[in-house]
Amino acid sequence: MAKKVKVHRTPPSLDMTPMVDLAFLLVTFFMLTTKFAPDEPVIVDMPSSVSEVKLPDIDILTISIDKIGAIYFNLDGKYAREKMIARMGEKYGIQFTKEEVQKFSVASSIGIPIGSLKQYLNMDPELQKTTRQPGIPADSLRNELADWIVFARLANPKVRIAIKGDRQAKYPIIKKVIKTLQDNRISRFNLITNLEKES
């Protein structure tokens, strides 16, 4: 009997080590796999479709078209972006400083004509968020979008092109974008959509 009483005296502490191990393992896993969505300058309400093909994570060139028809351009990969802006600057005779290239390489979508890009990159980050971006010109007279696409493909030849249009975007703008792509001999591209909720 005496022995039994002794057993009860020890505090009911429990070895937490394996649980903590597991918890930290999971923390590490989620920390490494989480990719925070970058701040997009534009809200795009995508139409839904029955398509179930997933968009790959990397090597994506996104052309976003917002409600009022402004065109935004985004390429992933820091290195590719650096190369792209350097070539773009060359073509339009704009010298970007190292800091500007650096800022551009970590930014997200841009919808700024190349002429005002330098000014935009030197803006305060807070101000950048509130600035209304006019969109990239894609007219036949001055088609900067085409140049961005060409240089993006030079910087990263594996890139896939995805169009992310707002459901309210007017067709003529979409036509303009598709025509730009076709003019550059891109006949295969993706349209980003949401999954259809009800059939």
Binding site: S49, Q182, I192
Partner: protein
């Protein structure tokens, strides 16, 4: 060594007691933090990747190349107009234009029926300037749903614009 210990043992009681205290540390705050982070990252992770629709446009034809001719009776033309309306007709000469919408009883019914009636049907999708992107995606979606193999996105011609003008 032993001696030193013995010397240090001069003020025995306190030191001996402190040695007795267990070397275990309280892990509770650390575990709390670990789980907090775990919860945060679990919730912050986005599992849902956006859906995508692959579309292949025809290559730009070279000038010398002859375009293949198609039987006009096999052509179904869909014109996407204002306010989510679809104008559709079969054939090209003297078409009988009808109006449908995007509901399940609208264009889908037409597509399924025509797809059965006409073998090797070719659908031409012509979005009007007043239509929007959603219409375009929806109609491409209908092509997938109705299992239509041959369809193309084509620019609208002035003749067709005239055609639907009277119906608007």
């Amino acid at each position: 060594m032993g001696e030193i210990n013995a010397q240090g043992g001069g003020d025995k009681k306190g030191k001996v007691r402190s040695k007795k205290a267990s070397t275990k540390i309280d892990m509770t705050p650390m575990v709390d933090l670990a789980f907090l982070l775990l919860t945060f990252f679990m919730l912050a992770t986005t599992f849902s990747k956006p859906q995508t629709m692959e579309i292949t446009m025809p290559e730009k034809p070279k000038k010398e190349e002859q375009q293949p001719l198609v039987n006009e009776k096999k052509v179904l033309t869909l014109i996407l107009g204002k306010n989510d309306r679809i104008f559709w007709y079969v054939g090209i000469t003297n078409p009988k234009v009808e109006i449908a919408n995007f509901s399940a009883n609208g264009i889908r019914k037409v597509l399924l029926q025509k797809n059965q009636e006409i073998r090797n049907m070719i659908v031409l999708i012509k979005p009007d300037d007043t239509s929007n992107y959603k219409n375009m995606v929806d109609i491409l979606d209908e092509m997938t749903i109705s299992n239509i193999q041959r369809y193309a996105l084509v620019d609208i011609t002035p003749v067709e614009k005239e055609l639907i003008k009277n119906l608007n």
